[in-house]
Symmetry: C2
Subunit: 472 residues, 2 copies
């Protein structure tokens, strides 16, 4: 095809197609409320099969508009509250264009994007209340950040780990019941083993620090090397928060590294009360994992590992062979290089979308949206309690509301009804709840990390649940 | 500021700013040759500091145009050959817009983007010559893919690893001298220890399979559990390729998992001869790590782990707690979920930029560009050899040319001169070489993974090196 080779663009034609793509993308965002999730068509594999021949930009944009934009995951819709998913920002379009044009490899070297990442890290550090000089790196998400934090924690107690491996030292880590799967996957990946992630009972929804001390003492007595306790700021099922000040005290007393999983809940730091206090003490952690793509609403993927001590961060990852040697000037300058702070040597530009969001909308808009999401979860809980046959699974603490649509039925039947309602409302496009299990029952679960949600959306969704529940 | 809240967009105003951003991004790509890397200004930290107040889209786009676009990393310039960096595609602009509008979380669930990722995985699998049914996942890059592959390899020999950890089993892995640092970092991360990554000598630039067998036997005799051999398709320093068929035979005979680091070199699979043959046998590997953001030119970040056996892939990572249970219909359907194939639960949309590039330009354009890059490296070598005071560090095998600008000087002085020339040409904007060490000397190194490079660029760059070398 003429004009579609990689080297020789017909720029005028290409420009027109890019403009058409931009308009369609803007339409998709502007009309988010009219475009709920819909099932993918049965011939989707055929539509997406990669063709041998160049199609050119016009055909490609046609196909994206027809076959890609309509089959999104639903999470940009104002009544999407499934799992804990972000809802995306219009500013992402601006950031995405600039990022594609710059095409930064943020593993190192001396160019603007790395300075911007440092600005984003420093802004986040300050919001979390970590001291100046604390270290951080943008990653795909909390799962990666958890791996980075766990490895740094392990290095603190095993200085020769990188060379010698863990060997026969039995490291043990601690987390509350209900800890997110990311921590489990991290200890599996690192070869520590999930048997050595001890689950500490909760009291009032928070890790029982007395029980923690008891289990640590037992493990020490049995020859293990306790090294890490993982606190939770926003549990995935219920949005619960550990008492992070108490945990920081306990970690210090027990000689453990305190890591906080703050995937979404860390952002209560910039919410109004009573939600801000939930994460009090988070800045005392040795490390925090958090996401921007959930409750800061920026596009996927974007998370961060924050580590209190930069030397410990570097000790876990810094390594630069001769082909990556730095220089005092020129493009090989710009120390430090981010490849020394994590797993990846080549790194995409996540800083720009965070920076663009904060610059465009300002921190106050995020404070308002996050606080508003918690208020909506509380409003949803009130509506649930006002319905005679519905019941909450647990009190709403932050932004997550778990409930059953028919508390009058046997547990098994409740599970069927709730699962059925979730699927029916997903398919009708009315609302997206996900499900979870509580007290032996499948329940409906709304995690509100959606800046497009309004009170009327909650009203409509609960009315739809009530309608479906009445059909049983 | 009116109209800049997250919820209430002034869409007409926002649309105008997004259009302005698009035009600036297109200009940046169209004028790539006129915009080389330049040093970042001294006040860059102040320019990027995040402000408390909303700036709105107009001010934000102004700042991006003034302070972000000019300070790129140079890798979109036609005379950029530093490290091994990709050069970006205009199609990335189209893909980035659609990806931002859809904002897919590709950890799971039933929506289009996951089907597209499966299409991209399957296309890549076929190109690499892996059998149908092989498994894959898009990741940030080869570093992540290497971690995934190493963990799956470890699970093959230690079925209970996820629960019990590695314990006192001494696993040993094998790779040729010159293996990329990504493998080293992976065995460190997994707690295996870099002492247990044994370096096998090379013969003629390829791993010596007889030596491999000897070292494996010694390790076995000493009580270790050899589990993994890492082959290289495109070494980072010189672009060398192991004999992958011989390695596959050796791995089978020795009972080792064969992983191939094909970060860039894997793409010789779609090049013309004599380059295609370099990666013969790669499809016989148990796993391959490769990048799209290097030699497929798509924007950062984008790599892939391919695993021959899907069961082994899942055995290393699959884990779905109750809040991620699948369903037969609705949004929670769409098995399998990609979160069961890697570390990340939340995942960005990397498939769309690969798909858009292949659809827009067609595979033949990539074949031509990759083959052309190798031809340019050969041409550069010829020019180096034609210069009386220059000398190659090694013969050019694929797309990497390493040379010294002044072979007449003492090694120490050569190092200074070569490092100085690299920096001077970076700062002048004439060309970007990186450096590496060879035979005790710092040398200039060009890794040509740049679809914008033409023969005239090589001529100009070598002339500039000669000019600077003559000044000494």
């Amino acid at each position: 095809m003429a004009g579609t080779g990689i080297k020789t663009q017909d720029w005028a034609a290409f420009r027109a197609e890019a403009q058409r793509m931009l308009e369609a993308a803007l339409d998709q965002m502007q009309e988010a409320a009219e475009r709920p999730w819909q099932p993918v068509p049965g011939d989707i594999d055929a539509r997406y099969a990669i063709r041998a021949e160049a199609q050119g930009p016009e055909q490609t944009v046609d196909r994206i508009i027809a076959d890609v934009l309509p089959y999104h995951g639903g999470n940009i819709h104002p009544r999407f509250w499934g799992w804990v998913q972000g809802s995306g920002l219009a500013s992402d379009l601006i950031a995405a264009l600039a990022a594609a044009a710059v095409n930064a490899n943020m593993g190192g070297r001396d160019h603007g994007a790395n300075y911007m990442e440092r600005a984003v890290v420093d802004w986040t550090r300050a919001k979390m209340g970590m001291p100046e000089g604390a270290s951080g790196i943008l990653v795909t998400g909390t799962s990666q950040a958890t791996v980075i934090a766990c490895q740094a924690a392990r290095l603190r107690v095993m200085k020769d780990l990188r060379k010698q491996g863990q060997g026969d030292v039995r490291l043990t880590a601690y987390a509350g019941e209900g800890v997110h799967n990311a921590t489990l996957k991290a200890v599996e990946l690192l070869g520590i083993g999930s048997d050595n992630l001890r689950k500490v009972p909760l009291v009032g929804g928070q890790m029982d620090c007395a029980a923690l001390a008891r289990i640590v003492a037992e493990d020490r007595a049995a020859g293990a090397l306790p090294f890490l306790v993982v606190g939770t700021a926003g549990s995935v099922d219920l949005g619960l928060f550990d008492d992070l000040n108490a945990l920081a005290d306990a970690a210090a007393a027990l000689g453990l590294w305190l890591h906080v999983d703050g995937a979404f809940g860390a952002w209560t730091r910039i919410a109004d009360e009573p939600y801000r206090s939930l994460s009090d003490g988070i800045g005392r952690a040795d490390s925090i994992a958090l996401d921007f793509h959930k409750w800061m609403y920026v596009g996927y993927d974007c998370g961060m590992a924050l580590l209190r001590n930069e030397d410990e961060h570097r000790a876990a990852f810094a390594a630069r062979p001769s082909y990556l040697e730095g220089a005092e000037r020129g493009l090989a300058g710009g120390e430090p290089w981010f490849c020394d702070y994590g797993i990846d040597l080549s790194r995409g530009n996540r800083a720009l979308k965070v920076w663009t969001a904060l610059e465009t909308y300002g921190e106050a808009a995020f404070c308002e949206a996050i606080t508003g999401n918690c208020a909506l979860a509380a409003a949803m809980a009130a509506e649930v309690e006002a319905q005679p046959l519905m019941a909450l699974g647990a009190p709403v603490v932050s932004n997550i509301c778990v409930f059953t649509a028919r508390c009058d039925l046997a547990p098994e039947t409740q599970s069927q009804v709730n699962a059925e309602i979730a699927q029916t409302l997903q398919e009708s496009g009315e609302a997206v709840f996900s499900t979870t299990r509580m007290d032996g029952r499948v329940m409906l679960r709304a995690a509100i990390t959606n800046h497009r949600s309004r009170p009327a959306d909650v009203d409509a969704a609960i009315a739809a649940v009530a309608r479906e529940a009445a059909r049983v």
